[in-house]
């Protein structure tokens, strides 16, 4: 800490003597995930380059979300940069609450951003947030267990194969569950997973007139399949498992397969934390036989500037620094290529150093397989794959996923859960004036 302060002081001094640009202090709100923590640690590099200093407000995801939402809707002006996701960006951009990022420097090479990420973080063709890292979902599986079960994972499996393989890999006596999936309530946890599962069974949240669709057969089929498979081969108590719970199960060797965020790949293959680091294979998220959509989602954590910020220029400089190609190289030089923020730039996947990373190709393929503007088999009036980009969605989907979790736990039947989901969604949409 002392060292850091000394460094800051030295930088500030050198700038003063050089009579350089006016140095500002910008406040950044961010999530406490590993990649962001790393960015926080490396921000001295930014200070050294520009003279601007950074103050961090690092919060757990749920707290961050409520904190920045309160601030932006009331124009509180507490932050110069907010870390937001693909769900918030188009809604806030539409409301004119974010500074458009349409004048980034040529050096930044905005065309190098992965098209899926760029379009997901834009509203009406204007970019409102720059992707720090992006992800889709994919299958991570244990190659040794797959072999033991006498099966071979296709590149693009179906749900039917997954269910069969999960049953074959399950070995309750040895504490091995064929498959681990999210069942935890919350729109960003189990809600996201069951939504993409629904997509891959041909279901959708709303029809073109914003009518809730949980009374349709596709949802019943998807949910029944999910519950049936998890009862056969899932871990006990999966109704409370989210990303973290499944991650630790998988790292401890208790899962045959796990379908989740592509960023998890770097965790499960990290020998420091994972007992199965050298036995992990990857495949595309599955689909129901005959359905063209797969259970891929698309998400990005991105940096955006609230419209009220007084320090827009410094904030833009920071965003350009943190989401640039050179930042990726900076991380690679300090922490290795496996730890760079993935899923944001095309050039990363063309980089020969990165091609050796075992999960690089599958991550890219998964991201490319996701199409937020056209997420479902039947037409929908919304954008977003594992979410619906309307302000009411987070609230509705959290309530709905709580009903689903109760069904996973066996506290109610799938039919009851769907009935309640339909009622909750219809009621909330009515309240919102659709």
């Amino acid at each position: 800490m002392y060292l850091r302060n000394a460094l800051r002081a030295a930088t500030a001094l050198s700038l003063l003597t050089a009579g350089g640009a006016f140095a500002e202090t910008i406040t950044i709100a961010t999530v406490n995930n590993g990649d962001m923590i790393r960015m926080q640690g490396l921000s001295e590099d930014f200070t050294a380059k520009t003279g601007h200093t950074v103050e961090w407000v690092t919060l757990e995801e749920n707290v961050l979300r409520q904190r920045v939402t309160t601030d932006i809707t009331t124009k509180g002006g507490q932050f110069d940069i907010m870390t937001i996701g693909m769900y918030e960006t188009p809604i806030w951009g539409k409301n004119g609450w974010l500074v458009p990022l349409d004048d980034l420097s040529a050096d930044y090479d905005v065309d190098d951003l992965l098209p899926a990420m760029r379009s997901g973080l834009s509203y009406d063709g204007t970019l409102y947030a720059a992707p720090f890292y992006g992800e889709s979902s994919m299958i991570m599986y244990r190659t040794d267990l797959m072999e033991k079960a006498g099966l071979e994972m296709p590149e693009a499996p179906t749900w039917e194969f997954i269910r069969e393989a999960a049953a074959a890999m399950t070995d309750r006596a040895n504490d091995i569950n064929g498959i681990c999936l999210r069942g935890k309530a919350g729109w960003g946890e189990g809600g996201a997973f069951i939504t993409v599962t629904g997509n891959s069974f041909g279901a959708r949240w709303f029809d073109e007139d914003w009518n809730a669709q949980f009374d349709q057969p596709e949802w019943a089929e998807a949910l029944n399949f999910f519950v049936g498979m998890m009862n056969e081969s899932g871990p006990a108590g999966y109704a409370t498992n989210g990303f973290n719970e499944n991650l630790s199960l998988f790292q401890q060797g208790k899962c045959g397969m796990w379908i989740d965020a592509t960023v998890a790949a770097s965790f499960v293959t990290n020998p420091n934390d994972s007992t199965v680091a050298d036995k992990v294979g990857f495949a595309l998220a599955p689909n129901h036989e005959g359905v063209e959509k797969r259970a891929n989602w698309l998400w990005a954590w991105a940096l955006a500037i609230p419209a009220g910020s007084q320090k827009t220029d410094a904030a833009k400089q920071f965003i350009e620094w943190a989401t640039s190609k050179s930042y990726i190289e900076l991380v690679a030089s300090k922490e290795g290529w496996a730890n760079v923020p993935p899923g944001a730039r095309i050039s990363l996947y063309e980089n020969p150093n990165y091609k050796d990373i075992p999960f690089a190709k599958m991550t890219l393929d998964s991201i490319n397989a996701a199409d937020p503007t056209n997420p479902t088999v039947k037409p929908v009036p919304y954008v977003g794959i594992q979410f619906v980009a309307i302000p009411e969605f987070a609230g509705i989907a959290t309530d709905v996923s709580q009903e689903f979790s109760a069904a996973y736990a066996g506290q109610q039947t799938v039919e009851e859960a769907l009935e309640k989901a339909q009622a909750i969604t219809t009621d909330a949409m009515e309240a919102a004036g659709y």
Partner: protein, 276 residues
């Protein structure tokens, strides 16, 4: 004979009380132990109690990542400031309720307590908007005011009950000697009520220290106390038990130490007028 029985009873009491005490304390002990483990050791089965590779890694990570002293300092100022301000406002009020009671005194007291039942989250938006207007967002003074208001009813009530136990004759004697109201409060009443005031302060410092709704929602980079410090270690992606434990230990240590030293005071002082 009698002494032998007492001694046996004492042994049994000791064993029983220590057993219960350790069970109640165990979650905290476990948190402290976990803070010295690696993330891998923190979740291993069978759990490692004492025989693991003790490491300070988590503390150094936490220290590297966040400016602990700043959060600590904010906590001290906010908890201490709000309590002191509350005491200053509450002493006269409690004095008049105790020594010049009217028919409505009890109603006023109960009404004060009932203001604590307003659900905080319901008024987040109104308060946030007010804070923007007043320029109090992310300031320590703003939090001092809010936490003072939240705890004021408790402070008034506690002081009121202490003051009531002071015999009125002493005050009258002081008045006879020509003491002014101010002198009466300052030189007669307050010294007698010091034990009561001390335990009121202690309880309210604890309550303010642990308040996690307003302190999180009304701060950003400058005024955030230890509750905000904790919020940056709970539930990130990946393993976090050990780091969370280290951060938790750092967040509760100061108040735990304060509690340790003032334990006797707390045990004697928290009467709320319940002792007759």
């Amino acid at each position: 004979m009698a002494r032998a029985v007492t001694s046996r009873r004492k042994t049994i009491n000791t064993a029983l009380a220590w057993g219960v005490g350790l069970i109640i304390f165990f979650p905290i002990l476990w948190t402290i132990l976990t803070s010295f483990k690696t993330e891998g050791d923190a979740i291993t089965y069978p759990p490692k109690f004492l025989f693991f590779d003790w490491t300070l890694e988590n503390y150094s990570i936490v220290q590297d990542r966040s400016d602990y002293m700043r959060y600590l300092w904010n906590s001290v100022i906010i908890a201490g400031g709000s309590t002191l301000l509350g005491i200053i406002i509450a002493v006269p009020a409690a004095w008049s309720m105790a020594f010049v009671p009217s028919k409505r005194t009890k109603d006023i007291l109960m009404w004060m307590l009932s203001t604590k039942m307003l659900p905080a989250v319901g008024v987040l938006y109104p308060i946030y908007l007010m804070f923007i207007k007043l320029g109090l967002l992310d300031t320590r003074i703003g939090l001092v005011i809010v936490l003072m208001l939240i705890n004021l009813p408790i402070i008034v009530w506690m002081l009121y009950t202490y003051f009531k136990e002071i015999p009125g004759e002493i005050l009258e004697a002081a008045r006879m000697d020509g003491a002014s109201l101010k002198e009466e409060i300052l030189y007669v009443l307050t010294p007698m009520a010091i034990p009561g005031i001390a335990s009121t302060i202690l309880l309210n410092v604890i309550l303010a220290w642990n308040e996690a709704f307003w302190t999180l929602n009304l701060t950003a980079a400058k005024a955030g106390p230890l509750t905000a410090f904790i919020a940056s270690y709970s539930s990130p992606e990946g393993l976090f038990y050990a780091k969370l434990s280290a951060a938790s230990t750092m967040a509760i240590a100061p108040i735990l130490i304060l509690g340790w030293f003032s334990q006797k005071q707390l045990v004697r002082g928290l009467t709320f007028g319940a002792v007759k």
